[in-house]
Amino acid sequence: MREAISVPYLKAGLKEWIFTTDHKKIGILYLTTTYIFFLVAGLFGLVIRFEQNSPGYQIVPPDFYNYLLTGHGAVLLLWWGIASHIGGLGNFLLPLMIGAKDVAFPRLNALSWWAFFGASVLVLLTLIPGNHIKMMWTGYPPYAGNPDAGVTALYVFIIHLIGVSSIATAVNFITTYIKMRAPGITFWNTNMFVHALIAANVIQLVGVPSIAGAVTMLLLDTYLGTNFYNPAKGGDPLIYQNVFWFYSHPVVYVMILPIFGMFSEIVSTFSRKPLFGYTSMIFAIWCITFLSFIVWIHHMFVSGVPDWARVLMSYTTILIAVPTGIKIFNWMGTLYKGAIILRVPMLYALGGIFMFLIGGLTGIPNAMVAIDLGISDSLFIVGHFHYVLGMALTFGIFGGITYWFPKMTGRMYPENIGKLSFWLIFAGANIFYFFQMIAGILGNPRRYPDYPPIPEWVTLHHIQTIGALILGVGILVYTVGLIKGLTSGEEASDNPWESQSLEWRLPSPAPVDNFGDEPPKVEPDYHPYKYGAPPAF
């Protein structure tokens, strides 16, 4: 057998990790970094949660609270929401799924990682008291340039570095997909995860320059006295919001599309059945990608933009429900008459799909401009995106990690711990986020460390805290499972789930040079979801 990447990874020396251009190692670097950042930002979330538990400033002063919330939002969106599955799982899986030896530009890939690493260091620097950033992840001027908001430059440079990393990755992945597919891998037998990954990176390529421009103008305004956003000198703060959301709305699809891709992989494998509606799934992905660029005003429904713009984008926004609906219906179609096996990855994928259903249905009132006028900037919106990000996205990543764990580490993720963690997280997150939405419907503004003692609000906050505690324990259990799996997990066979997809033809863990010098032999009727024979497990 060819030499495996490293069993365990700890055996690779520091030098190898630093100078590596191997997509698998870079993937692992991203995944570990983002996981640690996820844990820390989750801890920030818990502190925020306790602070909101009762009226009055409880445990942290408001300006420190603002730092925690800025960190929580920015890290969970950029590290957990994007980098964990694009830089992490995406790097690891893309070449394996298309039968390539590496990505198209391995050294550029290393550059992406190091730019990302730089951004991570800057985030750690903000932990130093004088360096706090408190403008929230959205960084709206004029506030973001105000001394009360902390060190504007750090915020801007974090976005810049993440942007460099994202653009380089996008160029790399798109080229890899176009140029490096093994003979026999075509558009019509590509994994859904890869389809989604490419769509997500097209969004990155088109969108990132826009947010980079927005924060660059913020930097110039703050330090060099330009007036892009200064109304006193002919500027307009709403320019920032437009340019910012032109990217930052589509970015939610950068986050969620690859998750949808993973749901498709997992649901098909564990239903022992071809993915239902493969073609309409691809159609839906590209529909979403296109629509995502013409809906950004729904983040600005109460920002003072003209009424006609609000109505127009209310229509475009609500239309996105259609392709997303197609995907949900197709997953249900895949379950129909399947032979469903509820292993840990499948539990997470199904949980994620059902929670996305709620996330999607609670997204509709945000698109209906008449309702949004009353719930904008309330805890309702926070509850809604926690359903999408805190649950659907997180379940997708957790499920993906357990699913490809054997291919990455050569070991199995422990089944019992996985199931326990799933039910804890599922219960806790639902209690927490559901009542967060209710608090918002009752008027509770977001980003409020303190609030008047309105009895209904107080009760709702107490319930949320209980949910958050259960959720926290669940995440801890899942983490214990990761460590246990890595150190003493059962040894994995090459294809423990009996998947039909290309990456499972490799030994576990995947060897250094993937398929070797010759591209893998892909049969003419290859399809990643060609299930027919019963599995042996």
């Binding site: 929230m136 229509y315 299930y531």
Partner: protein, 238 residues
């Protein structure tokens, strides 16, 4: 007919109910069969080891669940458009007030017919509590539509009239607007809902809705001096 408590909250509430009914129905239509499939089509060794692999899709079904949702969402968006028009169009007999946000309080101006300011109420930052002296409350008459013109002196804030379930950002360099009408006298919350810094969660005001006669008397009254005194007094304990 039951008396409407507040505009545009009544329309907002109606829209929320419409959405909720649609959402719950869709949820049940998807979740019940989904759960049923998961229970029914379980893998059983020797019995059910492989799913139905003849079916890779069904164009009829896929078309159906594209077209029907499209119709549903377009109807919802159009309904929301109709409500939105009412929410955004202040009745012609509205009383106009001007509210300016700042870090972290509000200044409310009452205008005469010519648009001159005849009275100002200053609501100052209370960093620790949620009570407000009488003369810092924003007073409006019950049963009369109020159009608020909004702007800001520094960063972006927003003006959320909780009983009316409506808000709009206060943007420096721009004048934005919203309107509301509260029919029952009482005291209600106003909050800033656009993040504006350390004092954001204490940027609030009280909306004091009084019978119209009482409002006229109040408007003629002389509390702007008290308001100034109060500001100085507050200034000490900041």
């Amino acid at each position: 007919m039951e008396q409407v408590f507040a505009y545009p909250a009544n329309w907002w509430g109606e829209a929320v109910r419409v959405w909720l009914v649609v959402a719950v129905i869709i949820y049940l239509i998807v979740a019940i069969p989904g759960m049923y499939f998961i229970m029914k089509y379980r893998f059983k060794p020797g019995e059910r080891e492989v799913g139905d692999h003849e079916n890779h899709g069904h164009w009829g079904l896929e078309a159906l669940w594209t077209i029907i949702p499209t119709i549903i969402v377009l109807v919802l968006a159009t309904y929301s458009f109709a409500v939105f028009k009412k929410q955004r169009t202040a009745p012609p007999d509205s009383m106009v007030i001007k509210v300016t946000g700042f870090m972290w309080g509000w200044e409310t101006e009452y205008l005469d017919e010519k648009g001159n300011t005849i009275k100002k109420v200053l609501t100052v930052y209370n960093p620790t509590g949620y009570d407000l002296p009488e003369d810092q409350k924003i007073v409006v008459p019950a049963g009369k539509p109020i159009k608020a013109l909004l702007t800001s002196k520094d960063v972006i804030h927003s003006f959320y009239v909780m009983p009316a379930m409506v808000l709009e950002d206060m943007v420096p360099g721009r004048i934005t607007h919203l309107w509301f009408q509260i029919n029952e006298p009482g005291e209600y919350w106003i909050f800033c809902r656009e993040f504006c810094g350390t004092g954001h969660s204490h940027m609030f005001a009280k909306l004091k809705v009084v019978p119209p006669e009482q409002f006229t008397a109040w408007l003629k009254g002389e509390p702007s001096v008290a308001n100034k005194e109060n500001k100085a007094e507050k200034g000490e304990n900041i």
